[in-house]
Structure formats: structure tokens, C-alpha cells
């Protein structure tokens, strides 16, 4: 499954929203950009040069997908602390900020097993704050969130961009960003054409 001739630019502070019906390739494109999938043909360009070192790319981005990557035996705080330590960016204070932002502070010492669907997803999103990087790749981040959490997410994205961060997100519902570009993916065509992504 390949994207036919696809290209876009994203400046510092920029945002892009991927839109399109189910199965139009939003998730696939995001995983491609994260380096989790490799293009069948064509190349992935970053600042107009092919990505030589996928590890260096991975250090600069954070991908939050349909799966939450949460260990249910750990508490909310332990989950966040592990990822912050594992990725090695961020400091302890950020973990508390992350939990505050997404309304998880009261649940900090709660085992993640007991969380509801929306709370779990908030915990996944909280990693964006606990372990900061410039580029965020978010796959339907507002899924299962209640209105207040969606608001918190919108604010978080705005602040991130204000600090020069970049966001690419897939979404069906309300816009989570203001003034970003929108990429409509209806013409995702399953043909073997050249494909490139430029960031």
C-alpha cells in the first residue's frame, strides 16, 4: 500500500491535520513518518535530505497511536516515569506537570489496570509532556476523551507549537489545532508510485 506522489512541508511551530475517511491511510502515513514502517518504493525526506539515520529521527519525535503502551501492573506515575527514564528526555518535575495537565494527578498512585478507556488514553498522551521532543505524531488523539480533556489537549498542542514544536495529527472530529495545514487523504491510491514525505 503506497501513497501516490505525496509531499508537504512543516515549519517550526507548524501543524498538519490528516483527514480522510476510514482506511484512507492516515495511520499508515504516521507510522511511515515515525520510521515504524518503511516505504515500499520512494524515500522519506527530512529537510530535503533522505533520512540516513532513523535513530536520530526517532530521538526527535514521539508517536502516540491507537495502542496505549501502558503496563497495567504499574501505577500511573510509574508508567510515566518509566518512559521518561527510557527515552532519557525530560526531568522529574515534568512528570507531575504531565499528570496535572491531563487530570491524572489524583490518580497518580492508582494501578493503571483500573483506569477507564479515556483515562488510559490521557495517560498515553501525558508522555508528550513528561518526555518532550520537537515533533509529535498523534493518531486520533481525541478518541475516547471527554470534552474537558479534549480542551486540555488543544491547549497543550498550542503551547507546544508556540515553543516551536511541530505536530502532525490524524483526526475525524473537531480540529485540535488552529491555523495548521490540512492534508486530505481521500486520494490515497493503492498503486506503486513514488512517494516522499518532506518535513
Amino acid at each position: 500500500m503506497v501513497f501516490a506522489g505525496l509531499g508537504f512541508e512543516l515549519a517550526a511551530g507548524g501543524a498538519m491535520v490528516l483527514r480522510g475517511p476510514n482506511g484512507s491511510g492516515k495511520t499508515t502515513l504516521l507510522r511511515l513518518m515515525a520510521g515504524l514502517a518503511r516505504p515500499v518504493a520512494g524515500r522519506l525526506l527530512w529537510s530535503n535530505a533522505p533520512v540516513e539515520d532513523p535513530e536520530a529521527l526517532a530521538r526527535r519525535l514521539r508517536f502516540i497511536g491507537h495502542q496505549d503502551a501502558i503496563k497495567t501492573a504499574f501505577t500511573v506515575r510509574e508508567n510515566l516515569a518509566f518512559w521518561a527514564a527510557f527515552w532519557g528526555t525530560g526531568e522529574p518535575a515534568l512528570i507531575d506537570r504531565a499528570m496535572d495537565t491531563f487530570g491524572l494527578a489524583a490518580l497518580a498512585d492508582f494501578p493503571a489496570r483500573l483506569l477507564s478507556a479515556g483515562q488510559r488514553h490521557r495517560l498515553a498522551l501525558a508522555r508528550l509532556i513528561a518526555s518532550p521532543v520537537p515533533l509529535w505524531l498523534l493518531d486520533e488523539p481525541a478518541n475516547a476523551l471527554d470534552d474537558r480533556s479534549t480542551g486540555a489537549l488543544t491547549n497543550t498542542i498550542a503551547e507546544h507549537r508556540a515553543r516551536g514544536g511541530m505536530v502532525v495529527l490524524a483526526s475525524h472530529g473537531a480540529d485540535l489545532v488552529t491555523g495548521g495545514t490540512t492534508l486530505a487523504l481521500d486520494n490515497f491510491t493503492p498503486t506503486a508510485a513514488q512517494q516522499w514525505v518532506e518535513l
Partner: protein, 221 residues
């Protein structure tokens, strides 16, 4: 390095959180060993003849069962994607997981093995070399097993398929592991077999982590 130690300590804490965990591997080892006298009959000379082999086979099967889930859980809940995106190298992830597996299952098996050897009436000269052989052999078991576990990620009935891929690779370990014990019992030097076991461990350590890392990246795609 911080990614390595973070992951290692996470896996160890996950294992410790259910204190019953390492215990269950030992218990499986014990039960599988104890099954043999039922199947084979209680005669002392038969048992002591097959003791070394049975302890090794039971240890391999115990390690195998616990290997089954080394990566599956992380794969299914999306953790594996995030582990691969660590900005350093997937080999690091593999090493941490293999070390955690060995510490939580290999080491308890080694500690337990002399006790089970008693119930199988292994001649007393054999205990020291049994422990030594397991010490040299179990790292290889964890390394090869992790490769098998990574290869079958996403396959249904992963457990069975895994055993299938991995068991033949265990045969050299099994052969030299039991040969070392037999040698000691019959008064021959066991040192050659033990050095081969050590050599196998080195080869496995040099080759397996890279192959495992490649298999993991493949599975995530």
C-alpha cells in the same frame, strides 16, 4: 545506557511485583522433573542413569515456557513500537530483555537444580558440574529463546511455533551440558565440554541480539 537500565529495572520490577512469578518457573521445573519417575518408574538405577538428561530437558522446557511471553505482551499493548523508537538502538532493548529473562528464570533454575537432582538420585559427584554447566548453558538458552520469541511475534499459537524453532538450536547445549555431567560421574575431565558450552554462549551473545533486534523491527512494521 539509561534506556537499557530503565528497561531492565522495569522488567525486574514487573517480575517482582507478582512475587509468585519466579516461583512458578521453579515449580514448573520441579513438576516436569517429578513427572519422569511417574512415567519411567521408580527404580533407582534407571533414574540415576537418566537424571542429568531429565534435569536438562526439564530446565530447557521451563525456560521455553517462560520465553513465550518475553515480547508478546509488549507487542500487543503497543509498548514494542515505543521501545523501538528509543533513538538509540533496538539491540539495547533486546539485551535488557534477555538479561531480565535470565535473571528471573535462569538463575532460579540454577539454584533449584541440585535439589531436583537429589530426587532423581544423581550421583553426588555430579552436583557441582551440573550447576556449572547450567550456569554456562542458560544464557545461551535465553539468547536463542529470545530470538525465537521475536521471530514468531504476531503468529497465532506463538508458543508452539516458538518451541519448534528454538528446540533444535538447544540440542548442542543439551548434548554438551549432559556430557559434562556424565564425564564427571564416570571420572573423566568435564573441562572440554564446559569450554564448548562457554563458546556456544559467546557465539550466541555475538549473533542473537542483532538478529533478534531485526526480527523485532520487522514485527513492528
Amino acid at each position: 545506557m539509561s534506556a537499557f537500565s530503565a528497561l531492565l529495572s522495569r522488567d525486574l520490577r514487573l517480575a517482582l511485583r507478582q512475587s509468585a512469578d519466579s516461583l512458578t518457573v521453579i515449580a514448573f521445573f520441579a513438576i516436569a522433573t517429578v513427572l519422569f519417575p511417574f512415567g519411567v518408574g521408580p527404580e533407582a538405577e534407571v533414574l540415576s542413569r537418566i537424571a542429568a538428561g531429565v534435569v536438562w530437558v526439564a530446565a530447557l522446557l521451563a525456560a521455553l515456557l517462560s520465553l513465550d511471553r518475553v515480547f508478546v505482551v509488549d507487542f500487543e499493548d503497543g509498548t514494542l513500537d515505543q521501545l523501538i523508537l528509543n533513538g538509540q538502538s533496538t539491540v539495547l532493548v533486546v539485551l535488557a530483555k534477555v538479561l531480565a529473562h535470565w535473571l528471573t528464570t535462569g538463575v532460579p533454575l540454577i539454584i533449584m537444580s541440585p535439589v531436583l537432582a537429589v530426587t532423581l538420585q544423581l550421583p553426588s559427584e555430579g552436583y557441582g558440574v551440573l550447576v556449572l554447566a547450567l550456569l554456562l548453558g542458560t544464557p545461551t538458552v535465553s539468547l536463542i529463546g529470545a530470538l525465537g520469541a521475536a521471530l514468531v511475534l504476531g503468529a497465532r499459537r506463538g508458543g508452539v511455533l516458538l518451541s519448534l524453532l528454538v528446540l533444535p538450536l538447544y540440542i548442542p547445549v543439551l548434548i554438551f551440558g549432559t556430557a559434562a555431567i556424565e564425564a564427571t560421574i564416570t571420572g573423566m575431565p568435564s573441562q572440554p565440554m564446559l569450554s564448548i558450552l562457554a563458546g556456544l554462549a559467546l557465539i550466541a551473545a555475538a549473533l542473537c541480539p542483532f538478529a533478534t533486534a531485526a526480527a523485532l523491527r520487522q514485527a513492528a512494521e
